[in-house]
Symmetry: C2
Subunit: 205 residues, 2 copies
Amino acid sequence: MECGLLFSGGKDSSLAALLLDGFYDVTLVTAHFGFTGDWEYAGEAAEALGFAFDHVQMDEEVADEAVERMHEDGFPRAGIQAVHEAALETVAAEYDVVADGTRRDDRVPTISRAVAQSLEDRHGVDYVAPLSGFGRGAVDRLVATHLIVESGPSEEIPKGDYETELRERIRQRWGTEAVATVFPEHEQTRVVGRARSRAKRETSE
Amino acid sequence: MECGLLFSGGKDSSLAALLLDGFYDVTLVTAHFGFTGDWEYAGEAAEALGFAFDHVQMDEEVADEAVERMHEDGFPRAGIQAVHEAALETVAAEYDVVADGTRRDDRVPTISRAVAQSLEDRHGVDYVAPLSGFGRGAVDRLVATHLIVESGPSEEIPKGDYETELRERIRQRWGTEAVATVFPEHEQTRVVGRARSRAKRETSE
């Protein structure tokens, strides 16, 4: 079955891809708005991992509503959640199975059982979240043995997906200060390849 | 890392094993009470899947408390939940990573984020539930392509894990009628092998 996995180029969605490999025909799909060319970073990461890559463009209105909400709130949670759900809807229209890299401990985005069921029923798809049964520690340990990762602050490690564009949109409308207010600094990761242990596994099988 | 995956011989825990294969050194672990020899069915299923197998014995007190609760309630939910948590505790004492086959849509057993975190903190382990991001439809479709399964009523397809023993304990104490009252009939599955598509995947890798 054709599975479109929402992909940022970061460690979580990359590990999700490895977990689904062999169970579905996985395409890594980056959802964006077309404001910047940052989705190409995700394409490079997908290539480094050896997966097919696709990108889908969401409506500008989704971005505008999200950044207005984020600016009003002073934090990104509700805006990110809305954009993530819109991205899932977009991918669900094109694939048999839609997936993402949400973890057990994620506060946002988080897809409840009800939202998952609704997505599945309306689109006739399966929604799968292979990391939703893994906590932060388990994810970090699996990433360390299976992926080669670069990490750093968000300005230096731009995410391939919608987050970088939302930051840019906020900067355009309300200035650089507003970006720092809405998005407290946190470390981003970018995956640049599979670790040797993974390659060894494949060879030995 | 050594992962002990709670294993009944049924389709959910078997599919969970396939998902974790290659990410951990997976041992399929059947938790039981020693009232019957039914755990051996799980051992046969583990062998058919090509995984290492182990069985751990829980305290009789856990079974007694559970069946008293189930008999009082008239349904098995709280008793099964308590036994499942006790089984996770037992496995967590012996492995680096403890896993089970709970699905997104399971009503019981279900391991909340808080219970997972507590298990991890107290035992210094990771708890992973690889199917917790998969709904019933997705699980059924993956089972159909990756596993060979026998299914039927519980009397004909005994589960390898604690459930069969709990049924037997109830029968001994309150008679056959009580078993039927507490456990409304539902279909059980027993895994007898991997499907060809899975074998093909391994060969082609």
